[in-house]
């Protein structure tokens, strides 16, 4: 009984400072199999193709529905979510690597703290007076709200940072995702009040000026957020803000 197998070539690393190495695993094929499900099978039977029993592969995942952003990894060279990477739709053997734009903790597990730190830099929040009922919320233009909804889908997965040639140890660019989030808050009728603060933050080192328009971000965004469109809009806003900074003072 020759069951169909799927070969996984996984780049592993025992800790942040260890050298990476490759291990290969075979997983029984089944229809609809995705990369996370395959990694789960490896957990149940962590034996390499050479018959060696090894510690199961370490990676991060939560929702398996492509909304949490946790399971981003480099699959056959492309940064994407592993949960929706269907084995049927990608070339085999399937090569899994950690997204090395970020520090690797172990195997495919990476440290994306920098993305959350960047959200602090751009002041990604509404300055709410308090979590109580104070008044009716302002009415919003439904079209603007739809744009906000689109941007608000960003799940901080890091695909765009992994793909962006300007993000990495050689640069201080905070990356497309956090940059574009600034626009989300600038769109909100209350968030607007602090738009100049956010734009000024984007003008700082590592902000929007570090964008080199390679436009990889928009190609790889798993949520199809029109990142480059909003980056251009932010560029426009930032330029106007710069003029204001010069002439209003």
């Amino acid at each position: 009984m020759a069951e169909k197998k799927v070969r996984f070539v996984i780049e592993r690393q025992d800790s942040a400072n260890d050298k990476p190495y490759i291990q290969e695993f075979d997983v029984d094929y089944r229809p609809g199999l995705n990369v996370v499900a395959a990694l789960m099978e490896i957990q149940k039977n962590p034996v390499t193709v050479d018959g060696k029993r090894v510690p199961p592969v370490v990676w991060e995942c939560n929702c398996l529905e492509k909304v949490c952003g946790a399971c981003m990894m480099v699959i056959n060279g492309k940064a994407r979510q592993a949960c929706c990477a269907l084995v049927d739709e990608i070339d085999q053997p399937i090569k899994l690597q950690p997204a090395r734009t970020f520090p690797v903790i172990r195997d495919l597990l990476i440290d994306r703290t920098r993305m959350f730190e960047a959200l602090k830099k751009i002041q990604g929040w509404i300055e709410l007076d308090g979590s109580f009922e104070s008044k009716d919320a302002p009415i919003q233009n439904p079209y603007t709200a739809q744009t906000a909804y689109e941007i608000s889908h960003c799940m901080t997965c890091g695909c765009c940072l992994e793909a962006c040639p300007n993000v990495g140890p050689q640069s201080d660019f905070i990356g497309p995702a956090p940059t574009v989030q600034a626009y989300l808050f600038n769109l909100h009728p209350l968030g607007k009040f602090d738009a100049p603060k956010r734009l000024n933050a984007l003008m700082e080192k590592g902000g929007i000026t570090s964008c080199g328009n390679s436009q990889n971000c928009v190609e790889v965004c798993p949520k199809s957020i029109k990142l480059t469109t909003y980056l251009a809009q932010l560029n426009r806003d930032v330029n106007i803000q710069a003029l204001k900074n010069i002439f209003d003072n």
Partner: protein
């Protein structure tokens, strides 16, 4: 707070497109006279000699040397921030992004050689004026021709792609459609300028 990075980067963009763009156009325009023959080119070169020396020097320093040095030096800094990856992410814009930086790396030594040999050594040290005949002799060496064609192509691509990214950086083109239109137009411009370059470079060879 004064956002140095921001203003310097924007200045880099402005000076690349407008000042160095002008210089490039001037070079292509003047040199394209060679197509019409030695007299035309020499005439154009002599026309420039009519500009009073101090003003000409001023233009050369303020309009070429300073912007070029700034654009090149800061450009090196920018290029060093990129980890080009068109091999992994082979989208057109990413190729252009990488080419923008690769052409820049080529242009730095090329321009040092070009300015150093023709402007400083030939014109400055030996005092020989630039003329059709001088260039004709210079281009007898096929290596020089190849390097000059490559240098011109690199400069033209760098400039044309610069138009596209300039429009993004300044928020002029926002949506993908307008960005594509500008990109196509500037690539057409790139093709036309490259063609002109080929023709005037070729005009030396056929004579």
């Amino acid at each position: 707070m004064f956002h140095t990075t921001f203003y310097v980067r924007r200045l880099h963009s402005l000076c690349g497109l407008f000042v160095l763009g002008m210089v490039l156009f001037e070079h292509i325009f003047t040199n394209s006279m060679a197509i019409l023959g030695p007299e035309a080119l020499n005439g154009a070169l002599e026309m420039m000699e009519l500009i009073p020396k101090p003003i000409f020097m001023g233009l050369e320093v303020g309009g070429i040397a300073v912007p070029l040095l700034f654009h090149a030096l800061y450009g090196i800094y920018i290029a060093c921030q990129a980890n080009n990856n068109p091999g992994r992410f082979g989208y057109i814009r990413n190729w252009n992004f990488a080419l923008q930086r690769w052409t820049a790396w080529f242009l730095v030594p090329f321009l040092i050689w070009h300015v150093g040999y023709l402007r400083f050594y030939t014109k400055g040290v030996t005092g020989t004026p630039i003329s059709w005949e001088l260039l004709y002799n210079y281009f007898q060496n096929p290596l020089v021709v190849v390097l000059y064609v490559l240098g011109m192509f690199a400069a033209i691509f760098h400039f044309s792609n610069g138009i596209t990214t300039f429009c993004m950086t300044w928020g002029i083109t926002k949506g993908p459609r307008s960005q594509n239109v500008i990109s196509v137009i500037s690539m057409c411009l790139c093709a036309v300028l490259c063609l002109i370059t080929l023709v005037f470079m070729g005009s030396y060879l056929v004579r």
